[in-house]
């Protein structure tokens, strides 16, 4: 969707961290991306490669960790994990699911030198 904006956000956070901790380079970067975050991972990968150019994180290995999609089923009131945004409730088969988790877009940690 807006992977360039996200990549700019990643760079901003890295630069904040750089000011705080004073490191020379980021060698590895781990992102947590929820299944329902609407992020196209190959597009984000490409955007990061472009946006991080010239930054302390240029060339860093980027790892994206999937976080599961979670929803509240309005039929059985259970909290369930679903893979697909439109999947039925795995417990009761109901179709009224309110996403409650899985929209995360976070920088988890990074390895610096």
């Amino acid at each position: 969707m807006h992977e360039m904006s996200l990549a700019e956000g990643v760079r901003g956070v890295i630069e904040d961290q750089q000011r705080r901790h004073g490191f020379a380079a980021v060698t590895r970067l781990r992102l947590e991306i929820g299944r329902f975050a609407g992020v196209e991972k190959p597009a984000l990968d490409f955007a990061l490669e472009v946006v991080l150019r010239g930054s302390v994180a240029e060339g860093a290995v980027v790892e994206m960790i999937d976080l599961p999609g979670q929803a509240l089923c309005f039929d059985c009131m259970g909290r369930v994990e679903i893979d697909d945004r439109l999947a039925p409730c795995p417990d009761c088969g109901g179709g009224r699911l309110m996403p409650e988790g899985g929209d995360e877009m976070r920088i988890k940690d990074m390895e610096v030198a």
Partner: protein
């Protein structure tokens, strides 16, 4: 272009380019070319990275801090995780320091959104973020809403990639409006809206309408500090729209099914629209409206007034 704040190509009416403005806290790393051909390769970070960074101190805000030579002497020398930034270690991540960041990628946007929300809260102003695909009738609906609200205090922030056409349409109703052009940006963000709020100075206990860029994808992720997202979906678009673009309708508190006067001409099954909306958001409120005939407008105005009344009322003690 910095697509997070839109600086570079975004402009707020009366401000020119948004950069260099008062509450511009974040650093801009764009506009300067980092490809300055000193030939470092992608592997350069391991151990000798500090050799390469002198060339980056060029007043972009990210330079001038590169004192890492004496602080991070490189791999191996700084493996005391307890004293470092991380305080932990992770299998597979070795040698270098590990910094636990745990920060949302859009944290800067979210901070601007918090500032906007705080300001609007102090004012008791009720802000709605109108989102939809292009052509759903947002501006027409808004013009009608303003007319039907008569003299209620309100202001409008109009977001589009280009032109001030929509702000001009709003101003023609007599309402105060400000156009924000996002340039190439596909959504409004909280920083742009902060500038617009500074310029518009919404009145206490007023309504603030933020008409987002017509786009059913990106604006879902960007909190602007609004009280509610209102998704507008017109009967010409197809009842499966919510299923195709679920995130926006999940993020919305209210959906307005617009152009219902055209429903029969389009063979639109309004119940199917509602079913699709509830499929992706079982908690969503739905109103059927027509900006042309005025159908459903009374309920929509009631919804706005109720929101404003709840926001404007002094916070009841517990």
């Amino acid at each position: 272009m910095c697509t997070v704040c839109g600086c570079g190509t975004a402009s707020v009416e009366g401000h020119g380019q948004a950069q260099g403005h008062a509450h511009h806290h974040h650093d801009h790393d764009h506009g300067h070319d980092h490809d300055h051909g000193h030939g470092h390769s992608h592997g350069h970070g391991h151990g000798h990275g500090h050799d390469h960074h002198h060339g980056h101190d060029h007043g972009c805000g990210c330079g001038g801090h590169h004192h890492h030579h004496d602080r991070a002497p490189g791999a191996g020398a700084d493996v005391h995780y307890g004293t470092g930034a991380a305080g932990t270690s992770v299998p597979g991540m070795s040698q270098s320091r590990l910094i636990e960041v745990e920060t949302a990628i859009l944290s800067k946007n979210d901070e601007f959104a918090r500032q906007n929300r705080r300001l609007l809260g102090v004012l008791g102003a009720f802000a709605v973020n109108l989102v939809s695909s292009p052509g759903s009738g947002k501006t027409t609906l808004l013009c009608r809403t303003i007319r039907d609200l008569h003299d209620a205090p309100l202001a409008v922030i109009e977001g589009d990639q280009q032109t001030a056409l929509d702000a001009e349409r709003i101003r023609a109703t007599g309402a105060r409006a400000l156009q924000v052009n996002t340039g190439k940006g596909c959504h409004l963000d909280a920083h742009m809206v902060g500038h617009a709020i500074d310029s518009l100075r919404p009145r206490p206990e007023s309504l603030l309408f933020i008409e987002n860029v017509g786009n059913l994808v990106c604006p879902a992720a960007f909190d602007l500090g609004e009280d509610a997202k209102v998704a507008i979906l017109s009967v010409t678009e197809g009842e499966d729209k919510p299923l195709k673009y679920p995130d926006m309708f999940t993020a919305a508190k209210l959906a307005l099914i617009n152009k219902v006067d055209l429903a029969s001409a389009c063979d639109a099954d309004l119940d199917a629209y509602e079913a699709a909306l509830r499929r992706v958001n079982p908690a969503i409120e739905i109103l059927r409206v027509s900006a042309r005939t005025g159908e459903g407008m009374a309920q929509w105005l009631d919804w706005l007034r109720a929101g404003l009344a709840a926001k404007a009322r002094p916070q009841a003690a517990e």
